[in-house]
């Protein structure tokens, strides 16, 4: 009888370790494959290091992210960080800088952008940079997209913008994705 109990526990832990290994593997398989190369001597003084949204009590570290194998923008590794799309614009420069943050964590707890939908026109978004002075952006609007391409989020060429992205809608278990994407559009009002 004791042997059976030990065997059951052994099977349980083997199964559990398999699930954890698979989980980690699937995270690894999503690893970013296209990222901006770091260049010796490149001026990084204007690169973003923290994102602050006072009204939502967000104060998050900024990770650099690129593009996944399947052509999707990568996401930050930590659910309380935000990911800056470093193949696009640098915040404060011409064009649209883009940052993504998780909506929830793997344990179901709210992640950094869980309350992004509460932002209103006129709310302040602050980007702290490596050594350059902080930039202040003001929310000008929000829009919900279907998952897929949304060139206007990345490709505006008039002015200096920062666009924030997270998930929205309902969870689709088959696609392992939420049904919508929320984008908050902001304009630079201070800095540079």
């Amino acid at each position: 009888m004791r042997k059976k109990i030990v065997l059951v526990f052994l099977l349980f832990f083997l199964t559990l370790s398999g699930i954890i290994a698979y989980d980690k593997l699937s995270i690894q398989s999503l690893a970013s494959t296209i990222a901006a190369p770091s260049v010796i001597g490149q001026d990084t003084s204007g690169d973003p290091v923290r994102l602050k949204i006072p009204i939502l009590q967000i104060d998050a570290a900024v990770e650099r992210v690129g593009v996944l194998l399947d052509g999707q923008m990568d996401v930050p590794k930590k659910s309380d960080n935000v990911g800056w799309f470093d193949l696009g614009s640098v915040p404060g420069s011409s064009g649209s800088a883009v940052m993504a943050g998780h909506f929830d964590g793997k344990n179901g707890s709210p992640a950094v952008f869980a309350k992004l939908d509460e932002l209103k026109v006129g709310d302040k978004v602050i980007v702290e940079r490596t050594t350059a002075s902080p930039l202040v952006f003001i929310v000008k609007g929000t829009r919900v997209y279907d998952p897929g391409f949304a060139d206007e989020v990345f490709g505006q060429s008039d002015g200096s913008h920062l666009n924030l992205i997270t998930c929205d809608g309902t969870w689709d278990g088959m696609k392992k994705s939420y049904s919508k994407r929320l984008v908050v559009f902001t304009d630079l009002v201070q800095g540079e």
Binding site: V67, L87, G95, F154, R181
Partner: protein
């Protein structure tokens, strides 16, 4: 410290100053072309076997083509103007060869489109660019841009080759009147390529099909071949290289050295295009369109992987284009400028094209939550 050690130290300290180069102390100058000035093609044998070639300038030869091209100029067949143009071609070559190199490429074949020894990849500023001994030059698929007003001399100790669809583009006031190519081997331009400048090459000039060339193919003593091409010769600044005596003697010649580009046949480029839409078509191709839709329909589109570092450019007729053979799913930065046969205008605002799909920033409501909770496991 003894004297010899001291001298070594002094030399080392001074060495940065000793090796400061003065390549632009003597800026290159554009010689007048004399009677050769009005010739689009000057050759001993001119070969053209199919219809469709248009020559906007003079044509000169001793042995003519099977199929005559359309010549919007004068055809000189072994007459006195033709002979004088041949003498002037040799004189101009001597003047070009007398100017010191401002940059010498490493020995061996050089692809001007990918070389980085001279400066930014694909971009050349005025100067005298020389290949190493017995070293050919080519222009690869990336093409080159000649940027800035002034004289460009490409002295090639070997053949000059351009690949199909390659582009020589002008920017920042560069003019075909001030661009000179002097290969010692044959010149071969790839099909559907674009080329600017005066090429002096008695070893022969073969122009591939549907090439657009603004300048001159001067191969007096050699053969020029065309194939459904368009060759346009600009009205460059006055060039009295042989006007005084026509004797071919250098002593009797005066050489103009225009510091500004010569007058251009086309109107100035004034439109600054704005990219209106851009979409990814596949992992390796994107499409984009731009306006305004008036003024011109010829443009130069340049792109690269970093804003401001332009690796490639292509000429487009129309208001949209598709860029293929890009690295998989990698966005590119693109700018568009209006252009005509003489120059490229101001590039519009750069835009990121081929952006990624929106990210997936959510996780599933975890069915193992209770298990993790019981085990005290947290991510």
């Amino acid at each position: 410290m003894n004297i010899s050690k001291l001298s070594v130290v002094v030399v080392l300290l001074l060495s940065p100053f000793l090796f400061i180069s003065v390549p632009f102390a003597n800026a290159a100058t554009s010689p007048g072309l004399g009677k050769a000035n009005t010739f689009s093609i000057l050759s001993s044998t001119y070969t053209n076997t199919v219809g469709g070639t248009t020559i906007n300038g003079d044509l000169g030869y001793t042995t003519g083509p099977a199929t005559p091209p359309t010549v919007n100029g004068t055809t000189h067949i072994a007459n006195s103007t033709y002979n004088q143009a041949g003498l002037d071609q040799a004189a101009v070559l001597a003047i070009l060869n007398s100017q010191p190199c401002t940059h010498t490429f490493p020995n061996g074949p050089i692809d001007l489109a990918t070389d980085t020894t001279h400066g930014a990849i694909g971009v050349y500023t005025p100067g005298v660019y020389c290949t190493g001994a017995a070293s050919a030059a080519s222009i690869g698929a990336g093409g080159i841009t000649l940027n800035g007003g002034g004289t460009y001399i490409f002295r090639i100790d070997g053949a000059l080759t351009t690949v199909a669809n390659s582009q020589v583009a002008l920017a920042g006031g560069a003019s075909s009147c001030d661009i000179f190519w002097t290969p010692t081997g044959a010149t071969t331009l790839g099909a559907n390529s674009t080329f600017f400048g005066t090429n002096i090459d008695a070893a022969g000039i073969t122009i591939g099909s549907t090439v657009t060339w603004v300048g001159r193919a001067l191969a007096f003593g050699g053969t020029v071949s065309t194939d459904t091409d368009t060759i346009t010769t600009q009205a460059c600044a006055a060039t009295p290289i042989s006007s005084s005596s026509g004797s071919g003697s250098n002593s009797s010649r005066s050489f103009s050295a225009p510091s500004m580009p010569g007058p251009c046949i086309s109107d100035p480029v004034t439109n600054t295009p704005l990219i209106i839409s851009a979409n990814r078509l596949s992992p390796t191709s994107v499409t984009l369109s731009w306006g305004p839709y008036t003024g011109t329909d010829t443009f130069n589109v340049r792109y690269g992987f970093t804003n401001g570092e332009w690796l490639y450019n292509t000429n487009v007729t129309g208001f949209s284009t598709t860029l293929n053979d890009l690295p998989g799913n990698r966005p590119i930065w693109v700018q568009v400028a209006s252009r005509n046969n003489c120059a490229i205008g101001t590039y519009g605002e750069p835009r990121l094209v081929g952006s990624p799909r929106l990210p997936n920033t959510g996780f599933a409501p975890n069915i193992m939550d209770m298990t993790w909770l019981l085990l005290g496991y947290h991510y």
